[in-house]
């Protein structure tokens, strides 16, 4: 099957700044693909390259089987820009009519399709208001509606929940799931890890303009584990040949006793053993690593110098 997106060593340099180093990406038709990275990692640059809004310095790629930026392919792509702005002097309905016309939707199909996406984005009762009076969240919903017009084969969403409250975020998750059910591939560009973790089939983590990890979410998160908050634990319990060693590697992490990897079925046995050793158990956390842990590890490992600033602290991009 033709991939929805495929890039080979896609590169973009602005003056001395390398915005995107060598991007290799493949998004299959019908999948929700999470494109993660700290601010300035090159996510938005990659999206703009895919849509022909900027031209690559080197490398190549295809969108829906056509060269990137191709006009015909753009007719089958829906896009919510990071900077979502629509004509303030048009109503929401008129903005969608404009986009339906630009996208080349059959004139007869437009009214019903516009009503469908308005309802989907929760804008049905604000459709006749000018967008200039919309809150940022409403404008972002309008952008989502525009991106979903005409059931595009590929939907590219650049930070689709940046202006939304938790209710709105929930709505967006439902909208993305529905788009997938209707057969669209979705490229979800985000640094909100919880969102990606709940939605995406596969993810790629980009840092300094390169993909530093990619794959199915399950593979990236690694095996399940358990963490116990315990007190009065005998020192010998965590020894390499101690009573817990039979379950797997044991470690103390910030006052938590962690056994990883550990099959979820064996959690009660671990708890029973720890209690049997005379320790007091205050909490049990059947934790796998969160996407955030994985992400932070990857980003910190890939940084120019390991620091404690967190993901945003590595600057905008790397100069070579």
């Amino acid at each position: 099957m033709t991939p929805a997106i495929e890039t080979h060593a896609l590169r973009k340099v602005y003056g001395p700044t390398v915005a995107l180093d060598a991007l290799d990406l493949r998004v299959e038709p019908g999948e929700v693909f999470g494109f993660l990275g700290p601010n300035g990692a090159g996510k938005t640059t990659a999206v703009k390259l895919l849509l022909g809004l900027t031209r690559p310095t080197a490398g190549e790629g295809t969108v829906l089987g056509r060269p990137i930026g191709d006009r015909e392919a753009r007719g089958r792509v829906g896009y919510l820009p990071e900077l979502f702005r629509y004509q303030a002097w048009l109503t929401a309905h008129e903005v969608l009519r404009l986009h339906a016309a630009l996208a080349g939707l059959a004139p007869g199909a437009r009214p019903a399709e516009i009503e469908r996406v308005l309802a989907l984005a929760g804008l049905a009762d604000r459709a006749d208001e000018r967008t200039g009076g919309f809150s940022k969240g409403m404008q972002q919903r309008l952008g989502l509606a525009a991106a979903l017009l005409g059931d595009p084969a590929l939907v590219i969403l650049d930070e689709p929940t940046s202006a939304l409250d938790p209710v709105g975020r929930g709505d967006v998750r439902a909208i993305i799931r529905e788009a997938r059910e209707r057969g669209s591939a979705v490229l979800l560009n985000s640094h909100l890890l919880g969102e990606v973790e709940r939605l995406c089939d596969r993810v790629a983590v980009v840092h300094h303009g390169r993909v530093v990890a990619s794959g199915a979410l399950g593979d990236l998160l690694g095996e399940p584990a358990v963490r116990l908050r315990v007190t009065d634990l005998p020192a010998a319990a965590t020894a390499e040949d101690g009573p817990l060693a039979a379950f797997g590697p044991v470690a103390l992490e910030d006052g938590w006793l962690a056994v990883r990897p550990l099959d979820a079925d064996r959690i009660p046995d671990v708890v029973a053993t720890v209690v049997g050793l005379g320790a007091r158990v205050h909490a049990v956390d059947p934790a796998r690593r969160s996407l955030e842990d994985v992400f932070l590890d990857l980003v910190r490992a890939g940084g120019p110098q390991p620091d404690e600033d967190g993901p945003g602290g590595h600057g905008e991009s790397r100069a070579r």
Partner: protein, 288 residues
């Protein structure tokens, strides 16, 4: 180039100008100025007639006042064209509106051409309506009818289109403020070169005349303004001045003894096309 998409953008541009009340404000102001002009000219004519000034002199006086009014109107029109066209592309880029639109199967050249068409239609329509109204009211209150009002209005619109084309083209690459300011400076330079060139001819200063000729080719707005003047100048005035051989009158920016040559008009059309194409090329290469 897909005509359907160009027309969508042109229609959007016209709608933007009406929705943002620009058009209505301009029309309202023009109506007010036309009323003021009508009142002023009527007062002048009545006073002159009461003083017993010969009717021929009154008519000639009114014709010159009308040219002065047309000059002020052409200036207002030029400024409006520059300030409407400069942000037409530039502000869409600055606000990000353009990203969602150009991600559709819309070529950048189609966006620029559609913007140009919409703006040209509005500016030309505005020039035609306001210009005809001003000429009409002067005729009504004074009886003076310029020889070729339609030529004057056509050149008025042409000049405004030339200016909006330059502002739009600059705005496809530069921020809107810069594009607007540069256009106004270029317009002023063209006018100045026109005056200077006429002076040069009148005083036989060949090198200066050659230099200003170059500027008038690069910036054809002043030459187009001469077309407006020619359309408004009564044949009698032309006859009198040429009979007297008053070469110095040529230096008057409100005087034209001949219509712009056909070659100049053709060049002006080509100039508009070239500037528009340059704007499209610049926008095509722009990183968004």
């Amino acid at each position: 180039m897909t005509p359907r998409l160009v027309l969508i953008i042109a229609g959007l541009t016209v709608r933007e100008l009406t929705r943002r009340r620009v058009l209505w404000v301009l029309l309202g102001l023009s109506l007010a100025s036309v009323a003021f002009v009508g009142w002023g000219v009527e007062r002048l004519v009545s006073l002159a007639r009461a003083e017993g000034v010969a009717e021929l002199q009154v008519r000639i006086g009114v014709s010159q006042v009308l040219i002065l009014i047309a000059f002020m109107f052409s200036f207002v029109l030029a400024m409006s064209a520059a300030f409407l066209a400069a942000p037409a592309i530039a502000s869409d880029v600055e606000t990000g509106t353009v990203h969602a639109m150009l991600a559709r199967p819309l070529r950048r050249s189609e966006l620029v051409l559609g913007r140009w068409l919409g703006l040209s239609a509005v500016v030309a329509g505005y020039a035609a309506v306001s210009g005809s109204l001003a000429i009409g009211i002067v005729r009504l209150v004074s009886g003076h009818a310029p020889p070729e009002p339609q030529v004057a209005v056509a050149f008025l619109a042409f000049q405004a289109i030339a200016i909006l084309t330059l502002a739009l083209a600059l705005g496809s690459r530069l921020p809107s403020m810069a594009a607007g300011a540069i256009t106004v400076v270029v317009f002023g330079l063209g006018w100045f070169a026109g005056v200077l060139g006429n002076l040069a001819v009148a005083f036989d200063a060949a090198p200066l005349a050659a230099a200003t000729d170059v500027v008038r080719v690069i910036v054809p707005t002043d030459g187009l303004w001469r077309g407006v003047v020619f359309g408004l100048e009564p044949p009698l005035v032309l006859l009198l001045t040429t009979a007297r051989g008053a070469a110095a009158l040529e230096a008057n920016p409100f005087f034209a003894s001949a219509p712009p040559p056909a070659a100049f008009v053709a060049w002006s059309v080509a100039w508009v096309a070239l500037v528009l194409l340059a704007g499209m090329a610049a926008f095509r290469r722009r990183e968004l």
